[in-house]
């Protein structure tokens, strides 16, 4: 099994770098997009195994990206994990209904973050299931 590639979509450079460092440490490869316009193009080029998506982005929000990805013939199967500071009560149901695999509210515990990603990638053993803080479709 090759190294899994994760597309990080966030407009903040420090958040992108923080996620990159954590994911690299855990054995993942990463690529980046910084706004809604470039996200689908980067996904087509990089063919990631999973997408980590912020909701508040320049040039259109994360919901718009989920819609665009879910109607795409090949990108629609990529699991999307939404990671946002926005109130989960108001956004997680909408994100999951739109097609996101999981919703995590910032701040995200590192172990929980990795467990949700591994679960979305189908890599997690039953004993390592994420805790209650994560909402997974």
């Amino acid at each position: 099994m090759g190294i899994k590639r994760i597309l990080i979509v966030d407009d903040d450079p420090d958040i992108r770098e923080g996620m990159h460092v954590r994911l690299k440490y855990s054995g993942f490869d990463t690529c980046f997009a910084t706004d809604a316009l470039s996200c689908v193009a980067v996904a087509r080029k990089e063919e990631p195994d999973l997408i980590i998506l912020d909701l508040g982005l320049p040039e259109g929000d994360g919901f718009l990206i989920i819609e665009r990805l879910k109607i795409h013939p090949t990108l629609s199967v990529i699991p999307i994990v939404v990671v946002s500071a926005r109130d989960a009560r108001a956004n997680q149901e909408r994100a999951i209904k739109a097609g996101a695999t999981a919703y995590l509210q910032k701040p995200v515990d590192n172990a929980e973050f990795l467990a949700v990603i591994r679960k979305a990638l189908g890599e997690l053993a039953p004993a390592e299931e994420p805790g209650k803080a994560a909402v997974i479709a």
Binding site: D12, D14, G18, V21, R22, D54, P58, A85, K106, P107
Partner: protein, 122 residues
């Protein structure tokens, strides 16, 4: 855990501490912009609202990610208020009482950013 793992984890924590410091430095460097935006908005210039919304969103998420809870909470209040005020309107009209609340929340954010340090946190 082997010595290699310990070294690797120490390097990770060091890198994350550096990124956290970079976030705070950048955010504090943006304080003049935040003050200017608040002054413009208070003077009736609504063109700064969207810029302030973008700024507040970034600080809300970054503050939460890097464990600056007070900054994140204040920025979240500004962002939530602006989400309601701006809505889908291209030229939002802000009522005086909403404007007062927004400026008050913005000033609290300025104080929280100015007071934050990286000491004593992960």
């Amino acid at each position: 855990m082997s010595m290699d793992d310990v070294d690797k984890e120490a390097r990770l924590l060091g890198q994350l501490a550096g990124i956290r410091e970079s976030f705070l430095r950048r955010t504090q460097g943006d304080l003049p912009l935040l003050r200017e935006l608040l002054a413009r908005i208070q003077a009736g210039d609504s063109t700064g609202l969207v810029q302030l919304q973008t700024y507040a969103h970034r600080i809300h998420g970054g503050g939460a990610t890097f464990d600056f809870a007070a900054i994140s909470e204040s920025a979240g209040q500004v962002e939530n208020l602006l989400d309601v005020l701006i809505g889908t309107s291209a030229a939002p009209v802000v009522e005086p009482h909403d404007l007062r609340r927004l400026v008050e929340c913005g000033r609290r954010l300025v104080l929280e950013i100015g007071a934050a340090t990286t000491q004593g946190s992960p």
